[in-house]
């Protein structure tokens, strides 16, 4: 394996879980998440081969993932939000047993509510609470001031609460 491949293998190991999770929470299907994640890393590797000096590979992969998720919804003509009521049908059968084993009902509801939020709120909540990314890092990634990101996190959390209350 060439040195370049070895370097990308490390990047892959570091981000495969993060990118898959990010995509999965937006599309709620194991198959589609795998398909999109594959494309993200293929594109990432192609870009890395051309320019191994990409400064923030994580931000770069997330950006590809965001675009590919948007393309997925555009191509399939679907709205990005998924109604919590539609979740049992939207969920992938293959993951169902596993998901049930891993998550309790509350977490399942939160997952559904998260999928119903605005894209920008989903993004910041996932990065901040699931990936433990500081607001400053998110700010750099999306090109907004850190203060704005904190407001987005706060509003996202309120929107999530509202979505859960509506469901209940």
């Amino acid at each position: 394996m060439s040195n370049q491949n070895e370097q990308f293998a490390l990047i892959y190991d570091q981000y495969i879980g993060k990118i898959y999770r990010f995509v999965y929470l937006k599309v709620d299907s194991k198959e589609i998440a795998e398909d999109i994640t594959s494309k993200v890393f293929l594109k990432g590797f192609e870009a890395y081969k051309k320019d191994p000096g990409i400064k923030n590979m994580g931000a770069f992969l997330y950006q590809i993932a965001r675009n590919d998720v948007a393309n997925h919804y555009r191509d399939s003509g679907k709205k990005q939000t998924i109604s919590p009521d539609a979740l049992p049908e939207a969920a992938d059968d293959r993951t169902d047993l596993h998901q049930k084993a891993v998550f309790g009902e509350d977490v399942g509801n939160v997952k559904a509510a998260l999928a119903s939020l605005k894209k920008e709120h989903q993004d910041v909540l996932i990065w901040y609470y699931l990936e433990d990314m500081p607001a400053e890092e998110i700010a750099t990634m999306i090109g907004k001031p850190a203060g704005t990101v904190r407001v987005m996190i706060h509003r996202g959390l309120s929107a999530l609460k509202d979505a859960l209350n509506q469901e209940g």
Partner: protein, 228 residues
């Protein structure tokens, strides 16, 4: 739900992870192949899309692509495996890749079964037992075809105690025994060709004794103490 409870529930979503065999397989595909492993349908559509790049030509391109795909499917149905491109997707999978991939699958299925047993969900356990059995069978078949890989798998098993570290009944025991047996057989053959110290010879005899008593897992443990 309080805000803190909401945040805690959000954090639990960290447990969403890709399947290990899939992640491993994708990594190998990306790093080992020169060309991006796009499905053949995508490649045909991409190629034609770039040839017929504008306006109504796209429709023609996609119609032609659809024709090609139907034609290729027809060729597949007829079973003309002798065509040069027919087995290309299989040909790129080296035995090494197949075995590594099957080892990862077995590990994942075993972990899944362990969690199912712990959470005491009979329905899930039934599914998980079948998956472990199937994964063990596939790995056993792969080692039978490539005995030189037996030691590599054995060392992996030694280093990852997740394998069969489960009390999930007779079916899993049977599948795991078959896997251990085939690894033992190959490693015994290898050790018979090796010069051993007196101490190693004693351990080797003990290992062969365990093997004859069909204590395949214990035999493997003993063998690994010699071959390290």
């Amino acid at each position: 739900m309080t805000e803190q409870e909401l945040i805690n529930s959000l954090k639990e979503l960290k447990n969403i992870n890709p399947s290990k065999p899939w992640a491993f397989s994708l990594k190998m595909q990306i790093l080992e192949q020169k060309n991006a492993p796009l499905p053949v349908q995508h490649r045909v559509l991409n190629m034609l899309g770039s040839i017929f790049n504008t306006g109504y030509h796209n429709k023609l391109a996609y119609a032609f692509a659809a024709f090609l795909l139907v034609a290729m499917g027809f060729v597949g149905v007829l079973g003309t495996g002798s065509l040069p491109f027919a087995d290309k997707s299989v040909a790129v999978l080296s035995p090494d890749f197949v075995i590594k991939s099957r080892v990862e699958t077995l590990k994942e299925k075993s972990e899944y079964l362990t969690s199912a047993v712990k959470s005491n969900q009979p329905e899930t356990i039934l599914v998980a037992v079948k998956e472990v059995k199937d994964a063990a069978k596939k790995l056993t078949d792969s080692i039978a075809q490539n005995p030189s890989k037996a030691k590599e798998v054995a060392l992996d098993m030694k280093n990852n105690k997740t394998y069969f570290d489960i009390s999930a009944g007779f079916e899993v025991k049977q599948a795991s025994d078959e896997l251990y047996k085939i690894i033992d057989e190959q490693m015994i053959r290898d050790l018979e060709q090796t010069t051993l110290t007196e101490e190693q010879k004693i351990s080797f005899d003990e290992a062969k004794g365990l093997f004859e008593q069909e204590e395949y897992a214990q035999a493997l443990e003993k063998i690994l103490t010699i071959s390290n």
